[in-house]
Symmetry: C3
Subunit: 117 residues, 3 copies
């Protein structure tokens, strides 16, 4: 058995990878036509499912990078984020506005590292 | 006691998180109205304080991601960076120009991973 | 001997850093005037050499962040990427379009983490 556990592996990417007690995961909005609050909420719900499947949870995040395509969405994203992260367990977080994400409808994307356990 | 150590934790983010011998940290300029050299210098001074508080130091960096909002600032950022990093200990470094950071005055943001010890 | 191994260390960056069973690496295109397919292929060839030198390999990737300067390059980058990653071993992957990379000719840059072994 490998010391690396992957899930949802395609030719291009895995949904998550676990190694050395840390899970890596990138998540995007399941519905590219939804508004920013819905995109963010659904993305974080999906992220949470991956975290649990990997043997971690949303109160074990270490680092998150949030990519937005419009900083005007910042307040809406934060409202969902702040309610989603269990109090006292917020990770380090970078948040930057990029030009575009791979799907032109995606308004947000998140990459995280979290501790197992 | 948790195997994750966090500092400066708000509803949204932590100043740094330590797990498994690695510290994660994101830092932004303390003064959004300062020029790029000052923003970079103050940001790195603050980062260094966090590294020390976490049990690491600036000669233990593994990876740094620098986000600029204008690549015309590249030389000024590098001048401060090159003088700040102890010789022979520079980490891997990605440097990209994004559209905007969360505060419209911020011209630079940095995310790092560093080894404890 | 340090518990951190670095290679190609300049005043500004290292080609890769190894710590705690994980290698960190950032790679850019060796030829900034080449087309996107060539830039991507040469960048990934160079990345693979670094991975091997570090004691890892391209089937041990955990996380990759791809920075493009034009999402119109997405298909060409993916064609090279999909053929380069050994089937069944793809890492987590974020892919975002930024405004510019440090060299105005670079159309792609990649930051990765991979497991040793």
């Amino acid at each position: 058995m490998s010391d690396i556990q992957r899930a949802g592996t395609t030719r291009r990417y895995s949904d998550f990878c676990v190694h050395n007690g840390v899970v890596h995961c990138v998540e995007v909005p399941p519905d590219a036509r939804a508004d920013i609050s819905t995109q963010t909420a659904q993305m974080l719900e999906s992220l949470e499912r991956f975290l649990i499947a990997a043997g971690s949870s949303k109160d074990r995040l270490l680092m998150a990078t949030l990519y937005l395509v419009d900083m005007a969405d910042y307040a809406a994203v934060n409202a969902v984020w702040d309610a989603w992260v269990p109090e006292g367990t917020a990770p380090c977080r970078a948040c930057v506005q990029v030009v575009r994400l791979a799907d032109p409808g995606w308004r947000v994307e998140v990459a995280i590292q979290a501790a197992l356990g």
